[in-house]
Amino acid sequence: MKIFFYTISISILLFSCKKKDVKIKEYVDTWGFEKPSHFPEPDYKFENNELSKQKFELGRFLFYDPILSLDSTVSCATCHAQEHAFADHNVPLSQGVGGTFGTRNSPALSNLAWYPNFMWDGGINHIETLSVAPITNMLEMKESVSNVMVKLNNSPFYLEKFKEAFEVDYITDDLMLKSLAQFMAMLVSSNSKYDNYLKGEVEFTSSELNGYQLFQQKCITCHTEPLTTDFSYRNNGLDSVFSDQGRALITLLEEDKGKFKVPSLRNVAQTYPYMHDGRFFTLDAVLDFYSTGIIDRNTTDELVRGGFNFSSSQKSDLKAFLKTLTDYYLIGDPAFSPPER
């Protein structure tokens, strides 16, 4: 009797609210954006740009496509090469359309989803509008966004890709920017020896460990763990006269002259030369600078004033530690390599 009643009730429950749609849960594969367990929460959460494999792949095609430049000679990858951890091919300043030199060293692209703003002077506030800058810069891709849209809308390949990813028959610039944002946001660097050490999976050599401890004593206020930057703007005593005003170009504040964003040190061994203008070609040169090369001025950050006077064994240990920041997974992952048409 009981069983009979229970069966009837359950059946009624199941069939009662016919009007409501019952969605069948599709098999979802594990591809996606994963916050590494030892990282803080990311800044970018794909809120108006739902992450999908098609959009990511589309962003990847665009990233590697010189169609974004005036004469189709320069792509994002031209200055942000995977083998150099998405920095340029070891040049201080990059060359754009026609060979014109840019004004600042091409930053290594990784962990961008954690950045509150972009560029050496922090002038760009959103990963989706980031791409507008290199595309329209006269020294870089020298193009206009509206012209890129004409080119994309005249390409059967891109019309098909955008239809697949966004279900549109006409490509608008917001969709291009969002695809690029998805590709860039997926460039996560969290599998270096340093990361594995933090997770307790590997051990450091004694030199690496000494270097790490020194790093924690002297460097992490600015190169905060685990992203190795606190995203602040600092004058680290490179110059007494600033040819590049840095952050002051954005804030117009006197005290911001000569300040640049603390760069991430991830993959630092691969991304030479160093500093906003690429003036130091080796880690040795950087360590020498921080030892005894700091120029003290009123605006030089007090954290570096006077220099650190590292001994040669300290420099050697620091270098060993900095090399543990190389993430071979990011540099070698075929998912981020040039796609095949």
Binding site: F5, S9, S16, C17, N48, G123, T172, D174
Partner: protein, 264 residues
């Protein structure tokens, strides 16, 4: 016996619960449909750009305009600006709010000088409210569409934010013969975004379903220079700051920059 009774009661209540809860949803759905089909109408706002004292002249591109205060001779090649977040205030104090309300007014594009609105609840309206510029939220929200798309060349690529007003052209009074004013800024002291409220009390707006109403506004950009120097002193503004703020606010805030000319 007791067990069967309890089970039966439980079973009955469960059935009633599920059946009635479903019915409620159906009723609610039907109710919403009824509300949505009430009388509504359309409105067009026409922007007529004037120049000089008492709006005596028309502002025309590629034509010499003499500024009454700075005495500069200005030939505008570009004049575009954002207006947004339109609202109409009803006589009972309630508001109709235009959703996703962003327009790029461009003197070189006649179609952009008429702003169209529809699905406005029928009735009598006493105030027109709108915003000059783009609200700060949209300046930090990533890639946008339509009037706010970056393709409109109204977005600073290197210093994220909208160019809310763009005035470019030539002038013999300028040191390099050109003037380029890109006005923007949405945060703190640099914020130029301004809310406007225009009274329609003397010319009340009636929205009906049978005809499209119209508000004719006169806009006078000469106000841009009412607290800013001649182009012989400043011929370029290209980022947010005090110069942009002075220029934008004297145009945006002045009571006579945007005036209701007539209402139909």
């Amino acid at each position: 016996m007791k067990n069967i009774k309890l089970t039966f009661v439980a079973f009955l209540s469960l059935t009633l619960l599920t059946v009635t809860s479903c019915k409620k949803d159906e009723l609610e759905e039907a109710g919403t449909d009824i509300v949505e089909s009430a009388t509504s109408g359309s409105l067009k706002i026409n922007l007529n750009h004037k120049w000089g004292m008492s709006n005596a002249l028309d502002l025309v591109l590629n034509s010499e305009m003499i500024h009454p205060m700075t005495e500069d001779t200005l030939t505008f090649t570009t004049f575009k600006y954002y207006v947004s977040n339109f609202k109409l205030k009803k006589e009972d104090g309630s508001y109709w709010v235009h959703p996703e309300s962003y327009f790029l007014v461009d003197l070189s594009n006649t179609a952009s000088l008429e702003l169209d609105f529809s699905d406005i609840p029928a009735g009598l309206y006493t105030d027109l409210e709108f915003t000059l510029g783009v609200d700060s939220a949209r300046n930090v929200d990533g890639a946008q569409t339509g009037a706010l798309s970056v393709s409109n060349d109204m977005f600073w690529s290197w210093n994220s934010g909208y160019i809310m007003l763009k005035a470019e052209g030539t002038s013999p009074n300028s040191a390099n013969n050109t003037f380029v004013f890109h006005l923007g800024g949405f945060s703190g002291e640099n914020n130029i975004v301004t809310e406007k409220s225009l009274s329609l009390l003397t010319t009340p707006l009636t929205i009906v379903s049978t005809k499209t109403a119209a508000i004719h506004l006169e806009v006078n950009p000469a106000k841009l220079w009412h607290s800013s120097p001649s182009v012989s002193v400043t011929n370029k503004i290209h980022m947010p700051g005090s110069a942009a703020k002075d220029m934008a606010t004297s145009f945006y805030s002045s009571g006579s920059s945007f005036m209701v000319h007539s209402v139909e």
